[in-house]
């Protein structure tokens, strides 16, 4: 069970229920994210991981339950206050979601221009730094459509880092990347979060990423429509009693074995 001590958590969800209209996605999801941890939201495709992320970054109001961010109830404050809290967040969307009518540099610069009082030279300097951090130094003049999938994600990450966020959210960072790029992105996430002292919430079903970087997490199940396990991916793999979780963590080996044994050849 999760230890519930308000003061020591960055982000705390209690009995969150999410739905699109009458279509229930997840029910009574509770978890807590410790400061500076890398927290995984795990689960099979279509179980509502990304929907849960939407609720955490203010895009989808939960039907019920509370989400407390640094001691403040995120969804019951005013919209202005929610926006202010949200400015401490950095979000990397699944496709990068770069603003396609602006260059990479302008993408990273826009939040700085809108929300800081920095002058152009300072903004330019910061943009160069963020792009260099993600390995895109010198690519700032390119348009998003000229970048490869991996570069687009890294550019999206640079933009997510623009305002030096305290909590970073990643939606399927390795989706659509080859193993080497996805591994490099994992390392980048690890180094950046360490360097910035940020807390990371990462939505993924990629086992290598989960084991490599996450130290805590919650497992959502599509059939139960709820969280069925809490803990780090390694812990869940080694000692979780739930067969669904174990099958997932062992990459379906258990189920494959079961089905294989039953099939007539």
């Amino acid at each position: 069970m999760v230890d519930l001590d308000n003061s020591s958590f960055r982000l705390e969800a209690t009995n969150l229920t999410l739905a699109f209209g009458s279509n229930l996605i997840q029910r009574d999801v509770s978890f807590a994210v410790r400061p500076r941890s890398i927290f995984a939201v795990m689960g099979g495709s279509g179980c509502g991981k990304s929907t849960l992320l939407k609720a955490m970054i203010g895009l989808l109001r939960p039907v019920s339950g509370t989400l407390v961010v640094d001691g403040e109830d995120y969804w019951s404050t005013s919209e202005e206050r929610r926006t202010e809290i949200g400015r401490r967040f950095g979000v990397l969307f699944q496709s990068g979601a770069l603003w396609s009518s602006m260059t990479v540099s302008e993408n990273v610069a826009l939040p700085l221009r809108l929300f800081t009082r920095l002058d152009d030279a300072a903004i330019c300097e910061l943009v160069e730094l963020k792009l260099a951090l993600v390995g895109l130094a010198g690519s700032g003049h390119k348009m998003p459509s000229e970048l490869s999938g991996g570069m687009r994600k890294r550019a999206g990450l640079a933009r997510a880092l623009a305002l030096d966020p305290e909590i970073l959210f990643f939606d399927e960072p390795s989706a659509g990347l080859d193993p080497i790029s996805s591994n490099r992105l994992d390392e980048l996430i690890l180094e950046l979060s360490g360097g910035l002292g940020a807390t990371v919430v990462i939505v993924t079903h990629e086992l290598p990423s989960l084991f490599a970087i996450c130290d805590d997490g919650v497992f959502l199940d599509a059939e139960a429509k709820s969280a069925i396990a809490h803990g780090s991916p390694r812990q869940l793999r080694d000692s979780c009693g739930d067969p669904t979780v174990r099958a997932f963590m062992e990459r379906g080996r258990a189920t494959a074995a079961r089905e294989g044994g039953g099939r007539v050849h």
């Binding site: 939407k54 970054i57 203010g58 895009l59 926006t83 202010e84 949200g86 400015r87 967040f89 979000v91 969307f93 699944q94 496709s95 979601a97 770069l98 603003w99 396609s100 009518s101 826009l110 939040p111 809108l114 929300f115 933009r159 305002l163 099939r263």
Partner: protein
Amino acid sequence: MSSISLHPPHWIISAAGSERVLCLGGDWIAQDTGVRSPADVAGIVEQVGSGVLRVDCDRVGRWDSALVAFLRLLHERARIAKEIQVDDAAVPPAARQLLALASTGTAAPRGEPRQSRKPVASLVGEAALGAHGEICRVTALVGETVLRGLAAVAGRTRTRWQDVLQLMREAGAGALLIAAICNGLVGAILAFVGAVQFRRFGAGIYVADLVGIAVVREMAAVMTAIVMAGRTGGAYAAHIATMQGNEEIDALKTFGIPPFDFLVLPRILALVTMMPLLYLYGCAIGLLGGYVVGVATLDLTSSAFLVELRNAVAGREFAIGLVKSIAFGGLVALAGCHLGLRAGRSAADVGRAATSAVVAGIIGIIALDAVFAACTNALGI
């Protein structure tokens, strides 16, 4: 096509002790020898009646999905008939494997419509509720536009003026040629129509009045707005809908940048400023078109036409046209942005958003023009 001759699929049903044997032969290639129909399979099931049916594929030559589809249908029919057990131990192992894959999961009932028809009352009710919701949303949007527009002019929004300038350039300068063509031709057509009629009773000079009043009061504003609805309104809807699908709008929201300030307001401001300018430009070109046709087809001197034109068109006509064009600009931009923001996330949704933005824009322009006509008539101007 392969040059090897294929034998059409055929089968014989024979009895072997207590069981029946379905002996298949020929080449079962879907593209060349076709797929067996359910009627064929039903015939087999009927002929067998009951008991065990062994499928023998020894004489089958080449096969592909056609064979698998046939066997699947056979299994299905046999299951429905309940009295037949199909034994397919002699089916090629690969086909059996595919058959096993295809039979996992629940089979959807064939031939039945997926949705039952709704009663008319509920369709009408849903349409009415939809229309009500849409009216509320549009009203809220107009209100928001006015409030945020004032705030933007006062410099209190996240609107970037460089975006507004860029959009003005695209909407304004980019439309010069097409607006000129449309308005020039409309002016010319009006002059032709007028010339034919007025010449009959020797009042050719009044072509200038006709062209002047029609172009300045109505046609320049309406034609320019329709051009802009097709050109810019559709583009706004498609652009914003694509951003929606690409999560760009979500990215704006998470940064706390209101999509309204950042996307909608610049577009409305751009069109509301550019439309009156394009209207004046459209007036000039439309009058020029009328002038050329008038002078060329009627025996009018150029100066007589111009003097008549100046007498006919007062400042009031221009004022009405300008007010209209401002309203049309706001309408076209609002329709485009609103439908773009409301669009779903698929490629088809982008197309639908663009189409409906153009349609809504054009219908809205004509309806609004009718309202203007009624109002000016009531006011006697």
